[in-house]
Symmetry: D3
Subunit: 239 residues, 6 copies
């Protein structure tokens, strides 16, 4: 069985800006990259779509965002996108969605789940996604919910829009230089949020500069930052 | 359009003790001061009313507290009080109330929302109010919920009853000396909670003493403390 | 009226490992020790029961755990066990359970409630239990919910499985050497979780070693660690 | 041998405002109350003395403050005052003072040391005092510095001038109502700092109000707040 | 007397990258902008100078950096640079430098001091600078060190190289769009550290994007982030 | 050039209890394991030696501890021990020792430095060691202190005696099962501190149990916990 990672985001755009590099990199290495978008971000993160179409039906906005997400996911090598369509701004609690997510965890058996950090006062949907991941993780490891229960995976939080506001403390920098071109194309597939393209290119450059200092090489041009929630078990510190 | 601030509290008494000075001060300056009380505080913060009337109907207690709040709000110059009557001790979650609050945000378009801080282990209604404000703020800024969406306002948390227990870290001290007399009258309008009058007079004096040290004047006799949640954009540090 | 303490745990096993010593010690001193288990832990903390009986009905697993909890509680001197049967992994929100818990608080009038700490990313049921205790505590102190309202009790959090992961900061070490034999027997009554016996014996020995250093005696062999949520009012620091 | 507590403050005034109640209370109970003042506070906390005597020699200011401290200590029942005269604003590091403090710890063998909290950005002398206490505590427990080494005492931090600025988190409220009159007289003995009298009376009233809520009595009029640094070993939670 | 701000940095480059915008902006407004560089950064932040001149005398490196700092300060409108030449990597403690800094504070009487944040595990010189500023601030406000003592100024910490690593929590965003061209020229005057030019241009753009969201304008292209240490006394929240 | 790690401890015993497993494991893998002991721990961590020999000269105690450390280091496969003999309880500041440590860093060029965590109120020598490591790391990376400057290594903090008291937050669990027998022998070589043998065996078992849960294997019997200070640059999350 191939190893796998699962990405869970609140809105369709989130995966591209924050962990598109990790998705492309692992897909390139043969890891099964799965993606769940809990909402289309149709209410709060599709401003250009509403501006272009002020009288448009909500379903049209959703279709636009769905198409963008599918295109971006394909560029990054993900195995499709699972849309939960929970609604956003704010996203409601949903025990059903937690159960569905736990079933995905049992089926995919990922080594790590990548999602939003715990805190974000400017966007509680992100906190909701984090909470749902932790809840689904519990449900997936419980024998009482089915004999296919799993060993609980690591949870890796990607970088939020304003890291200090969210108490985000990255302890991992992932070198994504090798897949930057893919990430950039995936960002460009998100035409509705083109206002974020330059911002997240700069984020990748800043994290790349920081990684270059630590990795003892100047070859790291682009990176993504992550915070792991659980201690990692390691066989050694130095090869 | 006049500038505005919106105060959102869990119980009717909260606005007087904690931000009555800010309300009076801004009303005096011509700012539109709006007030939402999520509950009457009838269960947990109306002890004297229940003692006076042990067999009293809950509605009578609510009426007493409503009248007190309206009187205090008038003294402070607020444009009436919007009562949501959600119940208290504990206050339930209410997506409807969040929606209603978001509509108020869209209508009032306040420069700042003043509410409870995030944490308070002794009073989870306060945390609920904070959470509802942040949730309503998201809903108000989302184009998908209506074309009258707003730029999200600053959120200012007022001082809780026991600041250290709540992790409250004030970064703003508001000089309320000029409106102290009004705040004191508003406190006295809250006859049901007369046990708090002296306590909050001392709070104002302590914050005034701290402000006096920092403001390079001994003229600050009374102040209120606030913690801003989001970074403030400023044109300069020094005039 | 005898003094009392109330223990509230998310799953049946929790009280034995984490505060079995406190229960036995206080029961021995004549304190009324009450116990609420919010769930049987049938889904997520009964692995051996499911392995032994893979096709077993959920009710059979619950019966096994119920019997174990009753046996352990009896060994520790608790006055029975109140089972709420809310389900687990994850445990749902339940305003009814909060109300029931508040009624127990009003009836028992405990000096302290012992429960889980606030944070635990690996087990949100524990956070739910903490939250329900704080919510019930509010409901129990509100005159509007009945004239038998109480002065709010101290809340003491016992040690979680991985203290640093939960931000647990113990400020009290309880010497349980005198009741260690009882605690050990109670642990052994939890046959379904025998994988935890040695782990929690070592926890008791480590806390005992730490207490021995501070208590100026080497006689403390076993201890339990607690974190108090509210400031304690004390008559003096030194006898 | 009578039990003892040791108070260590950066400046002469500190002990009166922040732990004068604890001193009087323990002295009244027969506890040996010892006091070390690391400086006279002659530079930074004697403003009135310099205003009264702008051309005065530094020694005169020190004498004034020394006399005040001795008078206040006597009122509170302390066994004299040990003045280290390290200078203030800022207070220098002093391994000699640490050694002297460790010798006092060995001689007095206090159950607790009462001193400033760890952090205070507005007054680094307070941090220096905390640091010196912890350093002296190590030196006093080391056999290599003499066979009369001690079991390390608890460290209790009293309330700083602005608690939130210092990250102060009180977990103990000491009821000082019974000795309030003594504390007030001791404050009045500090004539140089009369600007602080009312401020610290209000501090005592606020902490008293908080203690009254928790202690289930309205008889607590005055209290002092403390934060313990090390876990306390306790025999039980409820009598 | 014109209002003033004082900038204190550990190394010569620091002021340009982190608060060059604030300096230019306030100078433009007629504020007296003073600058102290505690070291030339000759050991640890002049890599290109050593590479260009591997056998060069230390004094030559210092001269290069001094010239760059003077040129940059002139571009930003500062009233010269005060070089303390304490040495770096690591910077030693220096009571003499603290005293000198306190004399500058007494002479300049700034409304705010701008310096490094408190924590930075990768660069303890920055922590030393912060510590020296707080110590000098105490010395400057103490009557015992001279009758020209000051009311203590606000301390504003500028953004460190890796904000999350330093626990930096900005609460102020300063719009520097109007002076960006000056800041960029000042950065270019620091030829020895040209490797940082692009990094800090991106920092300014990211903070500008964040400020634009909050300031309700898209006109904010460039900003700097700051964290205030002490509560600010404000006359109102809304104009 | 072989890869290397450098261990820096305050007292001779520290390396055995806290990172003896890491030392043995890396030595076994061919990594060059270097060890610096800043003091012999002769004053505060050699109680048995003083009890055995109350009139003994300090030098005799040092010799005992030196011999124990050399024996333990040999068992663990370290390349000797570098003793700085700074004295302990408390350990003084020493710019000379920082410089010497920076020269070792330049010579050894370790991939990681393993040392104490930042905070420990019960043992400030541990904080001093951490501080000296960070300071030496700066000095070692500065071209101005010599052309053999290094890329700064990761810093890994090992587990302190009481993790919660020190704010220790482990993010790495190192499986030391394969070298446990060596670690145990090294602990036994520290005859002066035999009171700690059982304590640290239990620490290893607890961390082993935690690692076993996360590593999806029950084969991890023994582990050590570490906290990394700087973000790690990683090529992927999943192999």
């Amino acid at each position: 069985m191939a190893s796998a990672i699962l990405v869970v985001t609140a809105h369709v755009g989130d995966f591209v800006w924050r962990c598109g590099g990790a998705m492309a990199l692992h897909a390139q290495r043969g890891v099964d990259v799965r993606l769940v978008c809990l909402s289309y971000g149709e209410n709060g993160e599709s401003n250009a779509a509403w501006q272009a179409n002020p009288d448009g039906a909500r379903d049209e906005v959703k279709q636009v965002r769905r198409a963008e997400a599918e295109a971006a996911a394909a560029i990054l090598g993900a195995a499709g996108v699972d849309f939960y369509d929970l609604g956003d701004y704010p996203m409601p609690e949903s025990p059903d969605a937690v159960r569905r997510l736990s079933q995905t965890l049992r089926a995919v058996r990922p080594a790590a789940v990548i999602t939003h950090p715990e805190h974000d006062p400017s966007n509680l949907d992100h906190c909701r996604a984090y909470d749902m991941v932790l809840r689904a993780r519990m449900q997936a490891m419980a024998p009482g919910h089915g004999a296919d229960y799993i060993v609980p995976p690591q949870v890796l939080c990607f970088e939020p829009h304003q890291s200090e506001l969210c108490g985000f403390k990255p302890n991992l920098l992932l070198d994504i230089s090798a897949v930057w071109e893919q990430k950039q194309r995936a960002m460009q597939a998100m035409a509705t949020q083109r206002n974020l393209w330059a911002y997240y290119e700069r984020v990748a450059l800043q994290r790349g500069a920081q990684a270059g200092r630590r990795a003892k090489t100047t070859a790291t041009a682009y990176a993504e930052a992550y915070q792991s929630i659980f201690p990692a078990v390691v066989p050694a510190f130095v090869e």
